[in-house]
Symmetry: C2
Subunit: 237 residues, 2 copies
């Protein structure tokens, strides 16, 4: 088996998913779409642990809810036991909890927040809109990364932030319709009117709504950036 | 850990994927979309072993190419080691090789061919078009299932069958465009003209092209049927 895997052109990518499931599907789709391939065999080998039963991260970050750490530890262990050599987690919010879990693990971890901040720097942006969940904002994970990179960030108004949380819920419950896409466009328009012409879609549920990006809005998509970086690192043996 | 899992509302679903990757994404998307859920925690727990390095099944079935069985055995073992209680394989063609691998395994196996034939029966169809790869047709796996159910089957002309194989390749290499969708519509129109108003899309790459089903064509989608059956069985604890 080891012999066979040595012949493989890529390292095994472990995806800790299920947070939420639609966001994991979206990330996996982007990973496949952005892997140059002439046949199945050119694609990356992946193992996905998709456990949607991880306790609610908003409640954990905002209201003293159940700590999701044991579920994350278990998922990472299963991925590593299955042979994962790289671990990625297509959920921005959970990175507040997943970073300590990944510290010291014997595999490479590609951090979605760091990858996104790096993409913002590469584009030469000095000011971005920050679309993230209440929990992610409370953890300060994106703000600290952008601050360290010298990038200003602008948040939606409280009203639009509440709308953002409803969008996330619509994706998680499979209830995306025209009204959802209109609300998404309004959110981006507000961010633009607050002085940020580019928004960071810092929630992987929001990422799923960017297939048909509303009217010319410029968006940095962490799910896409993580996929691109994963393809690059998986080939780097 | 066992304690925690006993609380979970679903059995762990193992998906043997990567054949091809886009088809696995499509199946996972259908599984998520068709799971009734009010929150992440209502979704199914899944583990996906996505190994696109499994040797080409067309070559194995048609030209004495490398037997994919050892790769399938390894994938199934990894899924079971990870705790899978149900195994599904969102690839029709590989079922010729995967059935013997699953025989005697200590987990439930939901066979995509059997599930599809059952869906054809439930719809009361007596005659269907059969869209499957050259390899799947050579193995006779679908024909035997339909014969046993007393359902007649109609194949595309050799010319359209060659077109079908090109469609499968286009999906596997991420090169789906308007011409691909036109060719798909032509294929369904030919099947209809050959006396089958409903087609079985017996290849999961073909399934990925059915998001926008061409002009009113009636299709049985094995990927969708497998997803629906998986949701049902995963809740059956």
């Amino acid at each position: 088996m080891a012999e066979r895997h040595r012949l493989s052109p890529s390292r095994l990518v472990g995806i800790l998913g299920g947070m939420g499931p639609a966001a994991t599907v979206d990330f996996y789709a982007k990973l496949v779409r952005h892997t140059p391939a002439e046949q199945d065999q050119d694609h990356l080998r992946v193992v996905i642990w998709g456990d949607p039963s991880v306790p609610n991260r908003q409640e954990a970050l905002l209201a003293g809810g159940t700590d999701p750490t044991p579920w994350l530890e278990e998922g990472v262990r299963r991925l590593i036991d299955a042979g994962a050599e790289i671990v990625v987690v297509p959920c921005n919010t959970v990175h507040a909890h997943v970073r300590p879990v990944m510290a010291g693990q014997p595999v490479e971890f590609i951090d979605i927040i760091d990858t996104t901040v790096e993409a913002v720097r590469r584009r030469g942006l000095h000011r971005v809109g920050l679309l993230a969940t209440d929990g992610a904002l409370a953890s300060g994970i994106f703000q600290r990364g952008l601050d360290a990179a010298g990038v200003e960030w602008v948040l939606p108004s409280p009203e639009r932030q509440a709308s953002l949380m409803r969008l996330v819920h619509a994706v998680k419950t499979g209830r995306v319709d025209t009204a959802t896409l209109t609300a998404m466009a309004d959110l981006l328009a507000e961010i633009d009117s607050r002085g940020a012409s580019t928004a960071v879609a810092g929630c992987t549920e929001i990422s799923t709504l960017l297939e048909r990006p509303p009217g010319g809005a410029d968006v940095v998509d962490p799910a896409l950036e993580l996929a691109l970086r994963t393809v690059e690192r998986a080939r780097h043996t």
